[in-house]
Point group: C2
Chain length 450, copies 2
């Protein structure tokens, strides 16, 4: 079973529910919405993962061995298993284009499809969009912290599995990173690859000097030397020495990387040694346990840093390792629906997000309204799939377009929302129609009419 | 490129280093070790992921389109790209069998292979073993908290990608969970599947009663009803009512699930209603934001809970979303090696872990020693691959064997290490030989002899 394609990458309950839906002819159109509840540590989210979600929907099929597995569980009727052989996703999808800045409670994805189809896809769609949105939202914070300093993704090894490592490369690039160390991410999504050497490379040589020189002669166009294996100061002096030896052959040292210790102090020390040695163009890259807060502090200290590499903290979104994502049924059989247990807000009905910008493009406010309600602002959810077929040109599907959209969205965020320590709480308004509907459904639920 | 098989699921620097190694004939045997540095929130780790790691090593090949990608980056010589067409992993591997309890600094995996082979595999091997070990270690804490109460895995949707969701099912089962909701995890690893219905199922019906009854008649052997969509008390009373209607047809309600609110109070309320209605055998399953601490508190309160479902907190190991894992060169060209920057311990040389147990099997102490040193205790690292071929029978490779090993290891942990709030710090001892070697290498590094 192909991990990236199989319909069995789902929760069992999707299948048990489907059997009952089919038995009772519950196949009319339903509307489900995917959204995130608020997170105090995130002022905003960045929509990401749609391309992979739609790709998965388009190819969704139960193959023979997948049907066999269903059968051998003993949990399903033969009629249901047989029926799943013909399962296709034939619905419509509306979504926030990738790279869109969005907020809690705003639908990121809206599925309009026969109930069983819209139900089955819940687990994997969330698995795809939740992770990439989580990482793009974290990575965007690093980009804000870094300003003009390039940020690169080193995180694959401790990302949660290979799909996460590959998607993290994509989500980080979408959010504004400049490159990734992950070859598969680079190969699949056409992201600039980056990387030179690990400490093991230095340790495998009998001397640091020999390691530096060999690497430079082997990769004359990509000379970034790791200088903290033994001692940063000694490492930096050796870089100056090796640069002299290489100069005769027209090879220059493009950069050095420092991966441990007090990065600001080490960068200053290194800059002084390099400058004194005439290597004023040699850039200093730092890495090692970085996140948006450490990047902010490092750069605010004025340390001479020309690039930052981030890894585990970003690829696992370590301070917020998951978002409170939800995929909820909001419309079925001509009736708006929603869960109304005490304490948990749920916004019923098929909705749209309306955004208001100032004349110079700054975000002023969002309103969540009913889908066909008249609300001021531009609607954000766009059609991206019709009857199971993807729509849209490059503007909807290209990663570069998503990256520009994100860059633009970040630039137009009010300052309070860009704050990394305690982001302002931004609450989309609810339209009159939506408020009225929610109250009506809540009353019905309280009275036990459902 | 197949995500699960491609050699391009690696960091670019592995490839740039390899080119230089080959150019200088640096192909002698090297020893790399994978280990975890300490984490204050984890008293112990559970080894997991070896099976997938070895599977990946056995099939490792660069295919035509992967070589093409390397070529078109412009970063490599043609000679190197051509050479990679014949790349195979031909080395030996020693490892802690899956399910082994282990501690900080103890090698979990030891690779003995020509330097370029041992280097290339770093990123993906860590990606595989780090994640499964992370999750098995977190899941084992839930198992300790739950005692005899079964724990099930619901976490795929917010796991970081599909590979993580699938491996989490495996790592949780290895650690003692009883089932998973993730179909692919069940199908691939033969783990009992579990699941019945989501809130959407209830919402799609015009009444909760109708939803309950339809589900029960559709799945008469798997009747677990979700009772908190509107109101737990009303939900529980409806279960009693529907059970009466079903009894005539020989269908019984096996369980109910509560997914929100004060779970302990809701479980008590529900138990009383079910018992009063004669449903004394109907089990109560709770879920919703659970982790080991909440499980411990819930069960300590005496709430009548028969099973717990955990999700995002476990599948992302939310309190510790990554471990400080390292893969280091410790031996090459007849010389022990290790990084010796100030402040960071690194244990050089090829090593073995020796464990001492009391007569009744309780863990007494571990010693990390040199591989061929005489140290008291049983050696834990076992040969699992020779010249690129996997070794060992079912005891080394079966998930059930790993699960028993873990269960046994947890049972034999001293109480302080099982403590979930503030686990005792367990430090493996270092052998005399290892201490002496480390001091010698540190002195050499200080003197700048490398």
């Amino acid at each position: 079973m192909n991990l990236e394609r199989t319909p069995l990458l789902t929760d069992l309950y999707e299948l048990t529910m489907l059997q009952t839906y089919y038995e009772h002819g519950m196949t009319e159109e339903a509307v489900f919405e995917l959204f995130m509840r608020g997170s105090p540590k995130r002022g905003f989210f960045i929509a990401a993962g749609l391309d992979q979600g739609l790709e998965w929907l388009e190819q969704l099929r139960f193959k023979a061995h997948e049907l066999e597995w269903m059968q051998q569980t003993g949990l399903f009727t033969q009629a249901f298993v047989d029926r799943m052989a013909d399962f296709r996703f034939t619905g419509d999808v509306m979504a926030l284009p990738e790279g869109t800045v969005f907020f809690a409670e705003e639908p990121l994805l809206q599925i309009i499809a026969p109930l069983p189809e819209a139900q089955l896809i819940e687990s994997r769609l969330m698995n795809i969009l939740h992770y990439q949105t989580l990482i793009a939202s974290k990575a965007a914070r690093c980009v804000i912290a870094a300003g003009d300093t390039p940020v690169i993704d080193f995180g694959m090894r401790r990302a949660h599995g290979g799909e996460a490592g590959t998607w993290a490369a994509r989500a980080c690039y979408l959010a504004g990173f400049s490159a990734t160390a992950t070859c598969l991410g680079s190969a699949r999504y056409d992201i600039p690859p980056t990387g030179t050497m690990a400490h093991a490379f230095i340790l495998a040589h009998d001397s640091e000097m020999e390691a530096f020189e060999r690497f430079a002669r082997s990769h004359p166009d990509n000379v970034v030397l790791l200088i903290d294996t033994y001692d940063v100061e000694r490492g930096a002096r050796r870089v100056v020495e090796v640069a002299r030896r290489l100069a005769g052959d027209g090879i220059s040292v493009h950069g050095v990387r420092i991966d441990s210790g007090d990065l600001a102090a080490n960068a200053r020390l290194t800059r002084a040694i390099l400058d004194e040695g005439g290597l004023t163009d040699t850039r200093i890259i730092v890495s090692g346990g970085l996140d948006e807060h450490r990047i902010e502090t490092l750069l605010a200290s004025g340390a001479p840093i020309d690039g930052v590499g981030v890894g585990s903290n970003v690829d696992t979104s370590a301070d917020v390792p998951f978002l409170d994502s939800a995929y909820k049924l909001h419309y079925f059989r001509d009736k708006p629906r929603g869960k109304h247990s005490r304490g948990k807000t749920d916004l019923p009905g098929r909705k749209q997000v309306f955004r208001r910008l100032s004349d110079d493009g700054e975000l002023q406010g969002d309103t969540i309204g009913l889908f066909d309600e008249k609300v001021s602002g531009s609607p954000l959810l766009e059609p991206v799939m019709q009857q199971g077929q993807r729509l849209g040109g490059a503007d909807l599907t290209s990663l570069e377009a998503a990256r520009s959209r994100c860059q633009n969205g970040l630039a137009n965020l009010p300052a309070g929302l860009r704050d990394l320590q305690s982001p302002a709480a931004f609450k989309p308004e609810l339209s009159q129609g939506l408020e009225a509907l929610r109250e009506r459904l809540a009353r019905e639920a309280e009275r036990g009419e459902v």
